[in-house]
Symmetry: none
Subunit: 289 residues, 2 copies
Amino acid sequence: MVVIARSALGKLRGKYDSLSTTEKRIAQLALNSPSTVSEMTIRELASAAGASTASISRFVKRLGYANYREFTMELAHVVVVDAQEGAKLFKELGEGDSLGVIANKVFHSSMASLEATNDALSENDIARAVLKLINAGTVNFFGLGGSSIAALDGYHKFVRTSLNVAYHPDYDIQLMQAAKLTADDCAVVISHSGKNYETIQIVKELKANHVPIIGITSYSGSPLARAATVTLLSLTDEIKYRSEGMYSLISQIAILDSLFMMTVLRSSSRTQPVLMHVRDVIERTREEP
Amino acid sequence: MVVIARSALGKLRGKYDSLSTTEKRIAQLALNSPSTVSEMTIRELASAAGASTASISRFVKRLGYANYREFTMELAHVVVVDAQEGAKLFKELGEGDSLGVIANKVFHSSMASLEATNDALSENDIARAVLKLINAGTVNFFGLGGSSIAALDGYHKFVRTSLNVAYHPDYDIQLMQAAKLTADDCAVVISHSGKNYETIQIVKELKANHVPIIGITSYSGSPLARAATVTLLSLTDEIKYRSEGMYSLISQIAILDSLFMMTVLRSSSRTQPVLMHVRDVIERTREEP
DNA sequence: TGAAAAGTGAAACTTTTTTACATATAATTA
DNA sequence: TAATTATATGTAAAAAAGTTTCACTTTTCA
């Protein structure tokens, strides 16, 4: 027969009535403040309950534990479970938050953003994007302002592959670069809002040259999303931050990570040697040269 | 001050690198199967780890526990938490993986990295870092290679605050910049390995000038971590990737996000107006000018 | 009411954990 | 490179924690 294990508190309540006076006192303590008791030694509990250590020892065995330590361990479990049930959802960041709380909120928001972004990715779109990348003559990253960081990251990643990649932080150069591309190349355009004026100028230039565009943006209705050949959405957690664009960066980067890994794995035999070589170079720069 | 306790696994990961060989063996056991270890006596663990009971005792104290029992107790906590989140283990990426699977793995690894990083952050360290930032004459970001992206991101974020920030991608300029700083300034040095030769040169220069250093690295035992005034660990999921440093970027950025939010919220009245203003400027560049 | 049963604490005993000490090994410095 | 210092680790003794025995008390119930 399968017996569902009761929690420590359950056992205590269940057997409470069959306990002796001294043992009831002990049980009472454990029921009232399991967390405190879980941290006590057998002596401490004995003195707190006005009983002898021997009584405690017998008491826990009566409850079905092999020894005192097992008992305190289960009590601790109870505490954790309780604490977790009490954990509430994360709200907006407030000025009263302690540093630990702020860190938790930031991290969990980032994680939620990643989850949302991952959920929203369609395999179909990804496949189209990867194909464009693999077959492109040159892969060009475009991003301005906050998104320039993601674009730079994309460049850093893909430069390790056998693909020909290009990126320049300056807007004018990006625009000129866009003018030079053809339908055989591929452009990765990153913009949180998808409607930044300069970015759209670049997109127009690319469109004029029939360059395939992989757009990474947070808004599916934005000009960038509408103009792109393939749109990959970098979603952010619904939580409102003082500076919203900030949190799509991590999602943008994760999308680039994915594209990178896919590119590497897909064109494996072609890319692997280059990747290895680049990694070796990096390794060599560590410590004394 | 209320200190948010790090989880046992967080502490383990955080200090892992600075442990001795024997202690690493012990940590490994605890990381691999916390539930088993949590039920072991010190003798059992000692024999399982091929160490003496004395080593175990010292080991737990180094992690910050008062005694062995406290350690096993916390490990038990972890078990409960882990079990509740449901196991979501991902293996190494394989060439046979479909695109959807690759995306899932990448995203979940990033999320796991964020979780581990968050876990390993101690409120104490964060507080010290934020204080250094807020009171610094100028805040300077240093990062080379892959970490230059995180450094640039840090610059982008903090430039919105009322703090004076600086960053330049070029190594020589970074080095010169480091030479100009004083004890009144603050340096944020980012390096995945924490031992890149050029980065260490910068660190030495900073040390010579007594500049407070906030180090962001993945290895607690690295030269950067040892030299830094405050070290914040950007952990990565244990899963092995073809290109390991790649995945600490997201953790690095999340740490910077946290520092940014804290700085903003802490020095609220001083920062808020600037932040608003910068945001307005950004807003104005959207759509037709 | 009085024998058996159950409850209890003191103390002996066992096990577990910590600390002190000695030795080996690595790192540092003169 | 030798000397010195710091670090790492195990052995063993001390301390602490936990369990069991046993004698004594209280309760139960025929």
